[in-house]
């Protein structure tokens, strides 16, 4: 019986074992952003210890930043203060920072991988629950609270309970129009928002093996939405190719990474199997990410839809989700703000225009993603379609900046959470893939992308 990938990485990072299942774990990489770090920096300052390993930290401003006119000062004084505070703290403690205007700035979970900083076998944390994104590289990556941010700043370590392991295997092939986002929305709809609480997930099977790194990141990103501590994918040639294109890695190191992988006889605490053929394009219909249903279904077919959610969404359970008229489309976030997402959107909208009544925001995940999209001419396709192509940031995923969906408006969003008020007070959110979001922008109602796509 061999260990799982999770066990292998965990065991290599134990600095001290406190008791059965409780360890002091060394953190290889700490990502930092402006919202969850100011109090942590204050903490280490008050303790007089400073930052233990600044070279293992990387910071960016993403949650608060405007997505238009980023070259101008932030108008909201509170947001401006948080970003200024991050700049001051990083300067004081010698931490690399990609703040507004820097060519490497972007959403923390987009830039880490894209800059070659996220690597297999690492332990990675950030004061942000979607840190699970980095697990796509075969890393243990998870979100932490601000007290823990302070602990990592002070000691590069955390006191952690060892989670249980859960393997989710999806085999077979996917139908046309079914993306990584649909796969993870499907899994969450099956498990529920608390279905994986206490577990660390490994995604295995053909479907994930055949995914690109961008697609694997979309899947791992939403692990937290079913309660999991994090999610990871085994290390293979796809992983190695992505990382070696961005960082110089020795053959010895690559071999060490590959040796970390789970094997056929690795023992997980729990294993769940799904078939790829059973997955259709998915959208959510309630106020939790587990309310995913396929695009041909009635709203009431979601087994996790509460009456409270139905009322908030102003839906009738007997109606088809695809009949719903929409007001906004948001394409972006750490879930779907990468270059492959923008390419997929451009492919479907090229030569088409958005419905008149819909506002469409395309927010790239980083300055690099934006530059790449411009280089490929995607910006022109968006402009011709009537989509607003903005500057990078978290934007309308959590609406901390001005990108708020007005109360009562219905938004098809490629982000990760449809909680009440998540995109602004009273905003109603439908989570979807970039393809579904793009198709819906064109028709003005929730739309199955396969109805307007041509497949090669």
């Amino acid at each position: 019986m061999s260990n799982t990938l999770f066990d292998n990485i965990w065991d290599r990072h134990v600095v001290k074992s406190i008791s059965e299942g409780l360890d002091v774990i060394y953190i290889d990489q700490h990502f930092i952003h402006e919202v969850t770090s100011p109090q942590a920096f204050d903490g280490v300052r008050k303790r007089g210890v400073g930052v233990f390993r600044p070279s293992r930290c990387l910071a960016t401003a993403d949650h608060n930043v405007p997505t238009i006119n980023q070259s101008e000062p932030i108008k909201d004084p509170e947001s401006a203060k948080q970003v200024a505070s991050l700049e001051k703290n990083c300067k004081e403690y010698g931490i690399e920072l990609y703040s507004m205007g820097h060519e490497n700035q972007g959403i923390v979970h987009i830039i880490g991988p894209d800059l070659g900083i996220t690597q297999p076998g690492m332990t990675i944390v950030c004061g942000d629950s979607h840190t699970s994104t980095h697990g796509a590289f075969g890393a243990i990556a998870f979100g932490i609270g601000t007290s823990q941010v302070e602990q990592v700043l002070a000691s590069q370590c955390l006191v952690l309970n060892r989670p249980k392991t859960l393997k989710i295997e999806v085999n077979g092939s996917l139908k046309p129009g079914v993306t990584a986002k649909d796969v993870i929305l499907y899994i969450i709809s099956q498990l529920g928002t608390e279905g994986a609480t206490g577990y660390f997930v490994e995604y295995a099977g053909d479907v994930f093996r055949n995914f690109s790194m961008d697609e694997r990141m979309t899947v791992c990103n939403m692990s937290i939405e079913m309660g999991a501590r994090g999610g990871m994918v085994g290390i293979d040639q796809t992983t190695i190719d992505y990382v070696t294109e961005r960082a110089s890695i020795s053959d010895k190191k690559i071999n060490n990474w590959l040796a970390l992988n789970s094997s056929e006889d690795s023992q997980f605490d729990r294993v769940i199997y799904f078939e790829g053929e059973n997955i259709s394009p998915m959208v959510t219909c309630g106020t939790a990410p587990d309310t995913g249903i396929n695009l041909n279904a009635k709203i009431g077919s979601s087994k996790h839809l509460s009456d409270k959610a139905l009322k908030y969404m102003k839906f009738d359970s007997a109606d088809l989700i695809s009949e719903q008229k929409i007001d906004y489309v948001f394409i972006g976030s750490c879930t779907n703000g990468r270059i492959e997402d923008l390419r997929a959107v451009a492919k479907i909208v090229e030569g088409k225009t958005k419905a008149d009544h819909v506002n469409v925001w395309v927010v790239p995940g980083s300055m690099k993603v934006r530059a790449q999209a411009v280089e490929e001419g995607l910006d022109k396709i968006f402009a011709a379609a009537g989509f607003e192509f903005r500057e990078p940031g978290c934007s309308a995923c959590l609406a901390m900046n001005d990108d708020k969906i007005p109360a009562g408006s219905l938004c098809v969003s490629t982000s990760n959470r449809n909680f009440e008020g998540r995109q602004g007070p009273g905003a109603r959110t439908i989570l979807a893939s970039p393809l579904t979001a793009a198709a819906s922008a064109i028709t003005g109602k929730v739309t199955n992308p396969t109805t307007i796509m041509e497949f090669a």
């Binding site: 008791s19 060394y26 909201d76 948080q82 000691s155 309660g227 909680f419």
Partner: protein, 194 residues
């Protein structure tokens, strides 16, 4: 750590951290003042008026130090601001049948006790405090016990010995880690040679 208090029932499953503290209130650079915005979208109307019918606003719940919530409390974002808001409102223990992992950790780190009970026990507690708001709940960390004497309810709850020690004896986890400096540096040297 002993708490003996009336409680606020919030029998809604999957209360996420965006409800506990909406993102637009995360813009401070200190830990103060979040209590006034706890459950803001549920506590206040769009024009800022108090929603009288919401449990947190009812006069009979004033001064409660215990919140009793539906399953999977604190799911979603890692924002510790949620724990600061709960603590800032004066809550010292949250009772539920399950807590989301990150919130649970954040709660401990802010001296809030997450008390996990059986789903059937949770139902009984919610029924008791809903029927009679003056019902007092007793939580005893040392004994790891939650009790309502009026309805003869008594149940033990789990907590890791380390977290219990931290809460009971005021052990600061961060200081603990800082004091491990030699072991951490030894680990770094070991890894560097691999």
């Amino acid at each position: 750590m002993k708490i003996n208090s009336i409680a606020i029932p919030l029998p809604i499953d999957n209360i996420d951290t965006d409800q506990i503290i909406p993102a637009r209130f995360l813009k401070q650079v200190d830990k103060n003042g979040y209590g006034q915005n706890l459950f803001y979208n549920w506590r206040f109307n769009e024009d800022g008026d108090v929603k009288e019918s919401f449990e947190l606003n009812k006069p009979e719940r004033a001064g409660a130090e215990i919140l009793v919530a539906g399953n999977n409390f604190g799911c979603g974002s890692s924002r510790e601001h949620a724990a600061w808001a709960v603590a800032g409102f004066g809550i010292k223990a949250v009772v539920s049948s399950q807590f989301a992992d990150i919130f649970k950790g954040n709660a401990y780190n802010n001296g809030i006790l997450p008390v996990e009970v059986n789903p059937s026990t949770l139902e009984k507690i919610i029924e008791a405090i809903t029927k009679k708001p003056e019902t007092r709940i007793a939580v005893d960390l040392e004994k790891q016990e939650i009790a309502i004497s009026e309805i003869d309810l008594k149940e033990n709850f789990e907590i890791s010995p380390f977290k219990k020690e931290c809460l009971l004896n005021g052990v600061d986890e961060t200081e603990y880690l800082i004091n491990l400096k030699d072991a951490i540096e030894a680990y770094e040297r070991k890894v560097a040679t691999e």
